[in-house]
Amino acid sequence: MFSEMFSYAFMVRATIAILLISPLFGMVGTMIVQKRMAYFSDALGHSALTGIAAGVIMGIANTTISMIIFGICFALLLNYISRKGLSSSDTLISVFASCATALGLAILSRGGSFANYSAILVGDILSITASEIIQLIVLFAVILVFWCVSINRLTAISIHATLAKSRSISVRIMEDAFAVLIALLVMLSIKWVGILLINALLILPAASSRNISDNFREYTYLSIIFSIFSGIVGLFVSYFTDMATGPMIVIIASVIYFATYIYGKDR
């Protein structure tokens, strides 16, 4: 059964891609949940549309590049404005996200051509190419190194920013670096996962792990395990049931969330 599945090159590539993306989602998600940035990463996902639109307008053939550039600028802008403290940050993020989404949709729908881009909404992991897998390997290495170097400081900032600052941690630089990292991860994986579901994959494994973890190691490793498990099982189930992969992964991640929620409640 499995040998037949892996006789298709696209299934092999999709499996490799999931093995690369899902641990990153599990890992980065822990800090997104810890820092209460779920709304931030969601907005970033939506801004992918504007990134594509910007690429189309400027005539850039590879819209991934315009998405990444736009995503990084958008993330830094959100951080900058949140720091000004002029308005509560969830309101602000919501305003910017809606604005970016509307702008993207408006530009891409020009001349009734939005159908060409609608694939980005749900994503398609089966269409990933070998060179795109190499991009993911580089991304994997970058995030892993960043994580090992920065995890203490990011955690300290999430506990108490002023206290972190008093210990010579550059709060602003770390927050911006983390925002750029989320932007990179979201933009480089959104084609495979889809705008509608990407935030679920970032949040669900970490939230599930949080239900049952007592310390940071359990939190991180369980989140990674849940993420890989949902990714791989979701891919296989989608293959055998002939349904879209992204939604299937999210369904499995949600089941894990509810199971850990019920289990964690009785602890």
Partner: protein
């Protein structure tokens, strides 16, 4: 933790410190002299600028004037290391962080994704000084106010700072906890070469334990020995005469 006898040769000088938010001047002309081996308590009504002073010392808000850390022996200026203890930390009950994780995230080089026996022992020894080594593997969110306070103190004095800065650190702690806390402060100033600045509402404890009291209302309105400040006109204007009487009765107990 190395125990150092207070040398008395270091002092922290705050010169002409001022803070304004837009048009509003929150602090002005703050001049203070803080010595190592002494507890200096900052008191004042709500909104007098106590917490802003703490933030200015931490460089968290833009301010005018300067903060110097001087070695009186050779008159050199040194970098000031501050051990800060906030009022509370942003942790809810379900946060998956153990005391070890929190301690290491602020002080450790090793990523908290791994835990070695050595590091664990090291953190445990630092916690033991405040009698909380037994809590090392407990989730931070389940600690009581007093326990969390001690863990934060252990973190604050971990790298032998020159200045221990405490912003109303005993809010929500019962009387036993308060006594413990102030005795610990007494112990710290005697055994570590530390200057302690303590923002506090608990006037009777301040009277009993502080070496210096600084009364703030936008600027320093009275400063000196506790008795001196508590009998000053400025103090009576803020806290009323009743408070002075009550403080003295309690302090004599």
């Amino acid at each position: 933790m190395k125990k150092i006898i207070a040398c008395g040769f270091h002092c922290i000088k705050i010169k002409d410190l001022g803070v304004s938010f837009g048009e509003q001047q929150v602090l002005e002309n703050i001049n203070l002299h803080i010595h190592c081996g002494q507890i200096s308590a900052v008191i004042g009504r709500n909104g007098a600028g106590k917490s802003t002073l703490v933030k200015a010392i931490l460089d968290e808000v833009p301010h005018t004037g300067e903060i110097l850390f001087k070695n009186k022996m050779d008159n050199t200026i040194q970098g000031l290391r501050i051990g800060y203890v906030p009022q509370t930390v942003n942790i809810d009950r379900t946060t998956p962080l153990s005391v070890y994780d929190m301690f290491q995230s602020f002080t450790g080089k090793l990523p908290i994704l791994v835990k070695t026996k050595n590091e664990h022992e090291h953190v445990k020894a630092a916690l033991a000084e405040f009698d909380v080594d037994g809590l090392i593997d407990q989730p931070v969110g389940t600690l009581s106010g007093g326990q969390l306070q001690r863990v934060l103190l252990a973190m604050a004095v971990h790298d032998t700072p020159n200045l221990l800065l405490l912003d109303e650190p005993v809010s929500g702690i019962d009387k036993n906890g308060m006594d413990d806390f102030y005795e610990k402060m007494q112990y710290l100033k005697e055994t570590h070469d530390l200057a302690i600045i303590l923002v506090s509402h608990d006037l009777d404890y301040v009277y009993k334990y502080a070496d210096n009291v600084i009364l703030i209302d936008k600027t320093v309105t009275a400063a000196g020995k506790p008795k001196q400040v508590f009998e000053s006109e400025a103090f009576k204007r803020v806290f009323g005469k009743g408070a002075t009487g009550e403080v003295e009765v309690n302090a004599n107990v």
